[in-house]
């Protein structure tokens, strides 16, 4: 059947789908990468565990058993918490701290919470502003912080999950070494917990600092994370 023979509704749906894919491509690409990386992490993690089983002359465990284990959970959660902390801090710190010349920063004069007029809230809201931006009181207050509240909640939840799953995984290691297990309260004071945490945090902080500084001088044509190629190094808060 030629394209001309397609019913109008089918062509319309196809066009809608293409539009939806194009308009949500950024989310879809990263969601796909996330799933692919998580699957890879599951298989490689299973291989590590089963290598340990083989070294102990014990039977291998299944993929299903591994991905429902605390060993897998702690490895996932410890990376999640650090990523969400990175973005939480980035969103929050850039309210008050600036970096002259960085597209990731506001201009120094705009440091702070800014005025209602600048933020298009309350009586300065536009007709198409979110409903809670047009409101006053607690709803405006909550909505004005909703991004950090959401990122913060996910960060704290992931960190708590890391500590709980980490306790179990650590105890498995303890028992493998013929040592007594520890409680959650003991685990969160152990070097194991803080080492897992801090080794992730340091890399996230370095990546952010690098991005802030490198984006002053370097460019990626077409990326909103970069200044336009011809923009002077001193230009701040200009995104491509």
């Amino acid at each position: 059947m030629s394209p001309d023979e397609h019913p109008v509704s089918t062509r319309t749906e196809s066009a809608r789908l293409r539009t939806a894919l194009r308009e949500n491509g950024l989310t879809l690409v990263f969601a796909g990468l996330f799933v692919a990386a998580l699957v890879g992490q599951a298989f490689t993690g299973l291989a590590i565990v089963n290598r340990e089983q083989a070294a102990a002359a014990l039977a291998p465990i299944s993929l299903a058993r591994y991905i429902t284990s605390s060993t897998f959970a702690v490895d996932v959660a410890e990376n999640w918490q650090s990523e969400y902390l990175q973005f939480l801090l980035y969103v929050l710190v850039t309210v008050w701290f600036v970096q002259r010349g960085s597209p990731e920063s506001k201009v120094p004069e705009a440091a702070g919470r800014e005025s209602d007029e600048d933020q298009l809230v309350a009586e300065h809201a536009r007709p198409d502003s979110p409903a809670w931006a047009r409101a006053r009181g607690w709803r405006l207050s909550v909505y004005s912080r909703s991004l950090t509240l959401a990122m913060g909640a996910i960060f704290l939840g992931s960190w708590l999950a890391q500590s709980i799953a980490g306790t179990t995984a650590y105890n498995a290691s303890q028992l493998r070494d013929l040592q007594e297990p520890v409680t959650w309260a003991q685990y969160v004071t152990q070097p194991e917990f803080w080492n897992r945490t801090l080794q992730n945090w340091q890399s996230e902080f370095l990546a952010v600092a690098s991005m802030v500084v490198l984006s002053i001088y370097l460019r990626e044509r077409g990326s909103p994370e970069s200044k336009p190629v011809g923009t002077p190094h001193a230009a701040t808060g200009v995104e491509g």
């Binding site: 070294a55 102990a56 002359a57 284990s69 995984a169 498995a172 028992l175 013929l178 040592q179 007594e180």
Partner: protein, 162 residues
């Protein structure tokens, strides 16, 4: 027959921890200990028990009954290999040696006081000795038997392996 299930074939022992045989020699109450824990299982039960306490019970019962083959079937392969290397005898004989049998029998005297499982590893603490176990397929195998735990150090075990 289930209780005569043999250990899997093993190559040379890869010993890391030397079984400290005889450390708990002299612990008394072989019979009383095995009766209590062994009541849950028949003396002939082989691997296939899904709970770590069941594996400990079956191991203790097998030792008490003088069934060395059944007892060794509950040991992790490296533990059995370590025992053979240390004793110079097959596991089924070495596990029934008086110093081992006395220690195993004396380690348990009633229900386990504590059982904890963490991702394929388990600890079963009894009155006078602690057992460490690891999953092996659907079964539990003993990786440390009749142990005294020590803060910050591996437990001191009558039977342990690399």
């Amino acid at each position: 027959m289930l209780c005569a299930r043999n250990l899997r074939a093993r190559s040379k022992p890869n010993a890391i921890t030397v079984a400290r045989m005889g450390r708990l020699r002299g612990i008394v109450g072989v019979g009383a200990a095995t009766v209590a824990l062994g009541a849950l299982l028949s003396g002939c039960a082989g691997p296939g028990t899904a709970a770590p306490t069941g594996a400990v019970d079956a191991f203790v019962t097998a030792v008490s009954d003088g069934d060395g083959s059944a007892a060794c079937a509950w040991l992790a392969p490296l533990v059995a290999a370590e025992l053979e290397q240390q004793s110079g005898e097959p596991c089924a004989q070495a596990v029934l040696a008086p110093d081992v049998a006395d220690a195993v029998g004396g380690a348990v005297g009633g229900a386990p006081v504590r059982t904890q499982v963490f991702v394929g590893q388990a600890i079963v603490a009894a009155d006078a000795g602690t057992f460490f176990l690891a999953t092996d397929g659907d079964d539990w195998r003993i990786t440390g038997a009749v142990c005294v735990t020590r803060p910050g150090m591996p437990a001191d075990c009558v039977l342990a392996g690399g």
